[in-house]
């Protein structure tokens, strides 16, 4: 046991002397969090101009309706700034507004005489996703407009039921995925950098010559890396708490357990890379990009459970994909995940296989050097 403590304190000293590896876990999640916060954390509406040329009353009603129908984001689908026509067209072509609706002069007359009333919708389709939004948002407006003007009811009314009383917003969901990214990179960078430095300083040669089991050498490294992964994740969780107010509360231990199991997978990867790689930089860049890719394809932007069919197979090879939704349950809703046991077992499986594989490969490499 004394041997273990000596090695652990050596690792800690090495980390304190060169704490730059700590940054590795923060940079990518930090940048992504700020960026997604700016992109999706604000008011998610389409800004459009509406020109009401209608000589009757219904154009005004439609104009009001456009600004009042609410989306699940808790904001209207459309913000309708008051702009003069020429300025609005300039803004539309400059893409500073998303579209222009034109209500023609005979709109009310045609509506009342039931002669195919129509409106023009000008919108940008450089991106098919935004074009789709224009098309499907407009149906919400027309639906509400029919209700307001007292058209005979629809053949099928619409109703919705949600599993929770409040809406789950998008940015907090993304932020939890970024916490997992931070745990992964925080753990991996720590062990990768420290092992690589030992490798360069030929300390690994001494390890290889050690007469006792190499588990004594590797275990402190793994524990320190795990700790650093959890520290990174907890720091990012605090940022999430300050930003969106989500905190796991009494489930913090469960968050640490799940993310710790997931971190062990990445720590093992970092360990193997640390002793095998000859180029730290190539390994570090690959690590960051690898982590970011896994974040995006492994449910970083949307829940995994309900979108399992769309999860591409490479994402299924990483524990993050399995951990992200239960983590969201714990952090965003302080609720116990319904799939806790299978998730726990899956993550334990990933951690064990990766840890055993990583340690065996590393030990062989060290002995080979010795």
């Amino acid at each position: 046991m004394k041997r273990f403590w000596i090695l652990l304190s050596t690792e800690v000293k090495a980390l304190v002397r060169d704490p730059i590896s700590v940054l590795g876990g923060f940079i990518a999640p930090g940048i992504l969090m700020v960026a997604f916060g700016l992109l999706f954390g604000g008011r998610l509406t389409f800004k459009i101009a509406v020109f009401n040329h209608d000589s009757g009353p219904w154009g005004d009603v439609l104009r009001q309706t456009i600004g009042e129908v609410m989306s699940p984001f808790g904001t209207p689908y459309y913000d309708v700034p008051d702009l003069p026509e020429d300025e609005a067209w300039d803004a539309y072509y400059a893409h500073t507004i998303d579209g222009v609706w034109v209500i023609p002069p005979d709109f009310s007359a045609r509506l009342e005489s039931e002669q195919n009333p129509n409106i023009e919708m000008h919108f940008s389709n450089y991106n098919d996703d935004r074009a789709k939004n224009h098309r499907i948002y407009s149906t919400e407006i027309v639906w509400r407009f029919y209700e307001k003007i007292g058209r005979p009811g629809p053949p099928l009314a619409l109703a919705e039921e949600y599993p929770r009383p409040e809406m789950i917003h998008w940015f907090p969901l993304i932020a939890v995925g970024l916490v997992l990214l931070g745990v992964s990179l925080g753990g991996m960078f720590n062990i990768f950098l420290l092992t690589y430095k030992e490798h360069l300083a030929r300390i690994t040669l001494e390890y290889g010559l050690a007469p006792c089991s190499l588990a004594w050498v590797l275990l402190p490294k793994v524990l320190l890396a795990l700790f650093m992964g959890l520290v990174t994740g907890t720091a990012l969780l605090l940022v999430v708490y300050l930003w969106v107010g989500a905190w796991p509360g009494r489930f913090l231990w469960a968050v640490w357990l799940l993310s710790g199991l997931m971190a062990l997978f990445w720590v093992s990867v970092g360990l193997v890379l640390g002793v095998r790689t000859r180029h730290y930089m190539a390994g570090a860049i690959s690590g960051v990009f690898g982590g970011v890719i896994v974040f995006f394809i492994g449910g970083g932007l949307a829940p995994v459970r309900q979108n399992w069919a769309e999860v591409i197979w490479p994402a299924r090879l990483f524990p993050n994909t399995y951990a992200v939704d239960p983590m969201r349950d714990l952090v965003l809703f302080q609720a116990w995940p319904v799939d806790w046991t299978p998730t726990f077992l899956t993550l334990t499986g990933f951690a064990l296989v990766s840890l055993v594989g990583g340690m065996v490969l590393t030990a062989r490499q060290l002995r080979r050097l010795g």
């Binding site: 940079i27 699940p72 619409l158 309900q306 591409i312």
Partner: protein, 357 residues
Amino acid sequence: MPRFLLLLLNEFKLARTALPIHLVAILQPTLMYLLMSPSLVQATFDMHVIQPTTDKERALVAAMREVGSPIGLPYINPIVVSPEEAAQMESSTFRQIVAVESRDGVPTAVQRFSLIDSNQVKNLRNRLTAAALRLWNEELGDAAVTIEEHPWLPVDVPYTVYFGMAMLPMTTFLAAVFIGGILTAQDFEFRTIAEFRLAPIAPVWVLGARLTRLVLSAFLSAGVLLLAQGWRTGFWPGSFWRVGLVLLPVAITASSLGIIIGLLFRRSIPSLLTGLIAGMGSWILGGAFGLTAGFGGLYEKLSRLTPNAHAVEMLFSCYYGAQVGDPPSSILALALFSVGLLTLAFFTYRWRVLRQE
């Protein structure tokens, strides 16, 4: 000139000492694009719906199949399930399920959502409304309000085209800043810098050779991504020369920045991290996910400080045949970025290399 060519040759030979770094810096963004592009945005959503038994329910399913872009993809793929199957399905395996029920004597399409986020709720709600509105419009006949669509472009362009296009400046930037930063820092770590100090040649030639090689590496990286994007989407830029011209100032800016970072830190790890922050930051802030003008606010203001936002707007016309932003001011901004960083790199080089023992 022969000296310059020898220096350039030496720069390329140096690549052999850091081949993995080159491979990762040049190929990783393309790998990222190929893996991320299929999972970022999907126009067609699977929507579970209970097996229709009445004419109205059948009409709803038929209407769901019709919802879509007249110049693009369908938006709904209805998946019909029996009530028994629906009861057996765990709520965690589908996003929503639509069942037509009678509520207060009114036939109602009830959309039951699973635990999904507001963005998906919005998408699924809007799609069902679009299908139900078709039925309502049919019933209203000539009294129905028609929305005449006037899209900006003749076809809806897949999101992956924009996403890949916005990654072109990013991959150019990253390859140049990474390789430039790390190799310059390694000059100090491996003491190669002493040779440059003693060399009887003006620093402008040494820097010029390094910059040329970095720009060529950045172009190689962008070329690989451009090919991957074209292969994946079928969309190619109208003019490869124009793409190259737009990316040139980005490559010069990033190469200069990489050299400055390497000269300032003189250690490869901080150079790598700083390059990463600069590269990823300017990608995400510079219109990675959509034209910056569309997001407005602080995001748009910050985006103007990155070369990526200007380059993306300039590249837009190459891919879409339509102009966005203000090309003269973007050209000016890119020119200022390149000249400014180039000058700064020169002076930093003089300060760090020539005036130091």
